[in-house]
């Protein structure tokens, strides 16, 4: 466009409206409509979540240079924090369709079976949901393990891994509480593992043990005498508090007294370090299993665990009162190790100062103060206490979700899912929530008067289907979700199919294939008629006749026949006969569907 400068973009800034106008951000919009700088602007929705902004120049600039013009700009509105790109979301959408469809068909067959003999099939339902959950979890990010190097660097404390996705963290959290019946007895320990995987996600909004470790790891190469460094002991304490035992033991082994040249002179000191390290690696854990290379001793039955726990604590107390401490002349080591013992003994002050945010404190309480906590009610009570002790300045999305789950508040969980993770998450996570409790199931699956007799479950599936429909690549998945909606699904599916463009042969066939799958013969013939008329209008007479024949549209075929007859009547030369030959051939021999086109045979 003539007269376009980059400066003119500044004049076209758009301000999105929001209730709190104080904080509304301003986004500059680039367009090339030249001055005068007060153009007329029209804004409307385009496909998906993009806005179509049309900018018209009011009159041609004085001097007549260039035409009075305008420009249409499409503005993509990007919801969320951009953690997951649009292309990644589409990959998740593609991958989650099959597990969802499989679960729906299982639900249908289970409910058919349970009508015949009610009891034996209901019991295993959570296992199907578990399978579904695992399939979807696999989509949300690969296992974070990087290939282990052959030579282990003793100074690499934290394994480098890609930043995990909070979507995956949220999914796992819901799976843990709602679906996995096997983990119900070991919920506290499962939370410890969960936090170990995802603590780095909280680093954005507050300090974390993970971020402390990362910082220390970076400094590690520059530190000469490690045990003199106060951060060393602080980091070890923090890691111990949240139960990352392998890291603690590894860090303790970096202690200077292990060096061969110092071993003889610092024998007592080394003995104390080693004794603490051994105690840490023998910590009894009440859980189903411990992975390879994980420290601690695993107990499945509560009585065994209590016995081991008491023995372990008595060993700690014994070491705490030992006379060797006086012979340990290194002050930092003595105080550092004593602090570790306090953490292991569950000293609330030590735990509180070793952890950074309430979730870490919460987990440390499970490990060292109340390992026998069972039941959501007591877990929720403890959480409240921890929040009071360590309030978070800014709420974090996973914390809100966890509190909703612990508070057994289905509506809060649903709202958190929707607010923080969007329609995909809600539509798919409802399957997990309904597997968890009857109370949630009745809330989510019952038709609600104020939602126009829809259930919440259906409502959210419809919302997600709308999102799928709005993108040219994903609309083909939407039918799976729409057909799972009893009330309005089929109606919306018919609208979706009828509104797809017919210009391109492939797209048209993909559309008709969906009609065939769902036995929508009326919709199918409607689409064929649209396609027939479209081709006819664009001069592709053969294709037009073909589709109208397929749709058995006698009325339109008759009209077409009249038009053709008129044009044939005018002139039919030898040249054009070759062209007509093909059309006649297409019509075939049967007159049934020819609809008045028989005359061509003559």
């Amino acid at each position: 466009m003539p007269g376009a400068t980059s400066d003119s973009a500044g004049g076209g800034a758009l301000v999105p409206l929001s209730p709190e106008t104080k904080r509304s951000p301003v986004y500059p919009l680039r367009h090339s409509v030249g001055p005068p700088v007060s153009p007329r602007v029209s804004v409307c929705w385009a496909r998906g979540s993009s806005l179509r902004v049309s900018i018209f120049q009011q009159r041609s600039p004085p001097g007549g240079e260039g035409d009075a013009g305008g420009e249409v700009v499409e503005v993509k509105l990007n919801g969320g924090d951009g953690e997951i790109s649009d292309a990644q979301w589409r990959r998740i959408a593609y991958g989650s369709m099959s597990p969802f469809a499989m679960l729906q068909s299982r639900r249908n067959s289970v409910s058919t079976l349970s009508r015949i003999s009610p009891s034996p099939y209901h019991v295993d339902w959570w296992e199907f949901v578990m399978e579904y959950s695992k399939d979807i979890n696999a989509l949300l990010g690969g296992p974070e393990s990087t290939p282990a190097s052959v030579i282990e660097d003793p100074k690499t404390v934290l394994k480098k891994s890609e930043k995990p996705a909070s979507l995956k963290a949220a999914w796992e959290l819901m799976e843990l509480f709602y679906v996995d019946k096997l983990s119900q007895a070991w919920l506290p320990e499962r939370l410890v593992d969960w936090l170990a995987d995802y603590d780095s996600l909280f680093s954005g909004s507050c300090a974390t043990v993970h971020s402390k470790l990362v910082d220390f790891q970076n400094e590690l190469i520059n530190i000469q005498v490690i045990e003199d460094n106060p951060t060393y002991w602080e980091v070890i304490g923090s890691a111990l508090a949240v139960g990352w035992l392998e890291i603690v033991v590894k860090l303790l082994h970096l202690h200077g007294s292990y060096q061969l040249d110092q071993l003889s002179s610092r024998e007592t000191e080394n003995g104390l370090v080693e004794a603490v390290a051994v105690l840490i690696s023998k910590m009894p854990r009440m859980r189903l299993e411990l992975g390879d290379g994980r420290l601690g001793e695993c107990y499945k039955a509560k009585p065994d665990f209590i016995k081991a726990w008491e023995k372990w604590r008595s060993q700690i107390t014994k070491l705490d009162c030992s006379a060797y401490w006086i012979q340990c002349h290194h002050l930092q080591t003595r105080e550092g190790l004593k602090n570790l013992l306090q953490i292991m003994l569950g000293n609330t002050n030590s735990l509180s100062s070793a952890t950074c945010h309430w979730l870490e404190l919460y987990v440390s309480h499970f490990l060292y103060v109340r390992p026998f906590t069972v039941g959501l009610e007591s877990m929720h009570g403890l959480a409240q206490k921890c929040i009071q002790l360590k309030p978070v300045p800014r709420s974090q999305k996973l914390m809100g979700l966890l509190l909703g789950i612990l508070g057994e508040n289905t509506e809060v969980v649903l709202a958190e899912c929707s607010k923080e993770f969007g329609p995909w998450m809600v539509a798919h996570a409802i399957e997990l929530m309904t597997a968890g409790s009857d109370e949630a199931e009745s809330l989510l699956c019952e038709e609600q008067y104020d939602l126009g007799e829809l259930s919440l479950q259906e409502l959210h599936r419809l919302v997600y289907a709308q999102v799928l429909c709005s993108h040219a690549f994903t609309w083909q998945i939407a039918p799976v979700y729409l057909t799972s909606c009893m009330k309005q699904g089929m109606g919306l599916l018919e609208i979706l199919l009828c509104k797809q463009p017919v210009q391109h042969n492939e797209l048209l066939h993909k559309n008709l294939e969906i009609c065939r799958l769902y036995e929508l013969d009326d919709v199918s013939s409607h689409i064929m008629k649209i396609a027939g008329v479209h081709h006819w209008k664009h001069g592709r007479k053969g294709a037009g006749v073909f589709w109208l024949q397929q749709a058995q549209d006698e009325v339109r075929l008759h009209k077409i026949a009249q038009q053709l007859f008129a044009s044939v009547g005018k002139s039919i030369s030898d040249e054009s006969f070759k062209q007509w030959e093909g059309l006649i051939e297409l019509l075939g021999s049967e007159s049934k569907t020819a609809g008045g086109l028989e005359f061509l045979h003559k």
Binding site: Q503, N505, R540, G542, Q550, Q579, G582, L586, G588
Partner: protein, 349 residues
């Protein structure tokens, strides 16, 4: 049927591309060590269609080999061949243009071999075929035009063979010899053309038996270099048939819905998007029977179909398989494009 021992299943590698794949072809071999594929992609975020050359590692990982070549419109059909020791790619677009691109064997860059032929078809080209030797293209469209485009001295020479003025629509084309080619279209029709004979097709065929129930469209045709008298076609409702020029009234029907009693096998009930003779089987081993063929379909099937045998499914995907291609060097390896913005590479044992 007797239980036959199942053949060992192929090794499958699926690779997300995060862009829609409008077409995929192996490039003819030009390097002893590496293998390359060309992908016609469409990025919806930036609305850009382009042609990309990817190297395919022995572990079947894809890596973009050079900067993508932008195109003005989405690709409707893609073919590759070798021309003057260079891989050439022909792509027809939804806007009706034809682009002939050459890949530089040194730096793998992909650039137009000549200025694009614009406006070949009104309302989109539907199929292009590149003759062996890479200099001649035939392009057909739903507008009923049949065009020949030849590459020479840095420019494209265009010639219109026929214009049906929209009374007939063409959807598929394939060279049979340097002077003959076949086209497919609506109503399961096939036409045979000879560039030495002007004014229309030299022979026409319509599969009348196929019209017993409902008619359909030919989406893809193939002609085997060793059997140039037979034209193989695949299209709507899982229909696969072959037309032997020497026995014009008796098509060989391999599969299809409502094909009558003679046809027992039904490999798919939906659209067959692409059909090719199975290049991994030597014609001399088959005798006078039909050569085995491979198809891909809208309902996500990639399968080998042989006359008188049950079809062998190689892939059964939850989404459509839109195109596939045999590696010319190693025909046991097949690359295919999936609807869900990804590529699959199969290695058959």
């Amino acid at each position: 049927m007797a239980v036959t021992q199942l053949p060992p299943s192929p090794e499958i590698r699926k690779l997300p591309l995060y862009k829609y794949v409008d077409g995929v072809r192996w490039l003819p071999p030009f390097s002893a060590l590496d293998r390359y594929a060309v992908i016609a992609s469409f990025d919806s975020d930036s609305d850009t269609p382009s042609l990309e050359v990817h190297s395919v590692s022995p572990s079947k990982a894809l890596a973009l080999a050079s900067a993508p070549a932008p195109l003005p419109s989405r690709v409707s059909s893609l073919k590759s061949a070798s021309f003057a020791q260079r891989p050439v790619v022909a792509a027809s677009t939804r806007a009706g243009s034809l682009h002939v691109m050459a890949v530089n064997p040194m730096d793998l860059s992909i650039e137009p071999a000549a200025a694009a032929a614009e406006g070949l078809h009104a309302g989109g080209a539907s199929c292009v075929d590149l003759a062996d030797g890479g200099s001649d293209c035939v392009s057909v469209g739903e507008d009923g035009r049949v065009n020949l485009v030849s590459l020479g001295e840095g420019r494209l020479r265009k010639a219109r063979v026929f214009d049906a003025n929209g009374l007939v629509s063409y959807t598929a084309a394939k060279w049979a010899s340097p002077s003959e080619f076949a086209t497919g279209g609506y109503g399961f029709s096939l036409h045979w053309w000879d560039r030495r004979t002007a004014g229309g097709p030299v022979s026409q065929f319509k599969c009348d038996r196929i019209q017993e129930k409902a008619s359909g469209i030919v989406h893809s045709i193939d002609i085997h270099p060793s059997r140039k008298h037979t034209c193989l076609a695949g299209g709507s409702s899982g229909t696969i048939f072959a037309w032997d020029l020497r026995r014009q009234q008796q098509p060989i029907i391999l599969s299809g819905v409502g094909m009558g009693e003679g046809v027992t096998s039904l490999v798919s009930e939906s659209e067959i998007w692409e059909i090719q003779y199975d290049r991994s089987i030597k014609p001399s081993n088959v005798g006078s029977r039909m050569l085995p063929v491979m198809i891909c379909s809208e309902d996500g099937i990639l399968a080998v179909v042989e006359e008188g045998k049950e079809p062998v499914e190689l892939l059964a995907e939850p989404c459509a398989i839109n195109s596939f291609d045999f590696d010319p060097q190693k025909p046991s390896e097949v690359i295919c494009s999936l609807e869900w913005e990804s590529i699959a590479i199969l290695s058959r044992p």
